[in-house]
């Protein structure tokens, strides 16, 4: 395996097995992309990125969902937890994908379809919550 990942946005990034997360179903709209590097540039913390290994020009900015909404508690059932190899939701890292809207300084977080990662097995899934109380575009900056 290559030991660096090259992309326009991030330049040359060291690639370590521990930072690779496998999404067996891809992400909605990107079903063909299965492996992502979880990248956390220190100068951008707490924002992190999922960078596709198959297509390094594709990356998703993500943020721990708790930082988007402090009492965020998605309703996850046993089958979803088992698919990620855990029995307890607290074993998962829960992220929201961020969208930066061009037209204005507006940033929103997708809390309707959080990204769940089992950090020890390094597997992830983006799940669509049945519960519509969580917004697809929860405003973080710019209302």
């Amino acid at each position: 395996m290559a030991t660096t990942l090259e992309s326009r946005r991030f330049g040359s990034v060291p690639l370590t097995e521990e930072a690779i997360v496998r999404f067996s179903e891809g992400l909605p709209g990107f079903e063909e992309l299965r492996e992502f590097l979880l990248l956390g540039p220190p100068d951008l913390a707490p924002v992190q990125f999922l960078v596709s290994l198959e297509d390094p020009e594709i990356s998703f900015p993500i943020l721990a969902a708790q930082l988007c909404l402090s009492d965020y508690a998605p309703d996850l059932d046993g089958a979803e937890l088992r698919a990620l190899g855990v029995s307890d939701p607290s074993a998962l890292a829960v992220y929201a994908i961020l969208t930066f809207h061009h037209e204005c300084e507006r940033v929103t977080a997708n809390l309707r379809a959080p990204v769940l990662i089992n950090p020890s097995a390094r597997v992830g899934r983006q799940v669509t919550l049945g519960d519509s109380t969580h917004s697809l575009r929860h405003a973080l900056v710019g209302g």
Binding site: G29, E80, F100
Partner: protein
């Protein structure tokens, strides 16, 4: 696509544990009742489409506002 004709009050069984019931048909709208196990997530098809579209938008977005977002998040943390 399988096409079935049903009347209000009639049901359709899908697999072992999913049942759709036509509750009401009125003025061009159909109300459906759905019984399914908890692990089957049910949402309007538009939701799945919106999530695919939002992912594409997120992947394409140039994070011009990244600096202000990071500054904003750090301010919250310090509070």
């Amino acid at each position: 696509m399988l096409v079935l004709t049903r009347k209000a009050g009639e049901r359709i069984q899908i697999g072992e544990d999913v049942v759709l019931e036509i509750l009401e048909v009125r003025q061009g709208q159909v109300r459906l009742g759905i019984e399914a196990p908890r692990h089957v997530r049910i949402f309007r098809e538009e939701v799945a489409r919106e999530i695919r579209a939002e992912n594409r938008r997120a992947a394409a977005s140039e994070p011009a506002a990244l600096g202000s977002l990071v500054a904003h998040l750090r301010t919250i943390r310090e509070e």
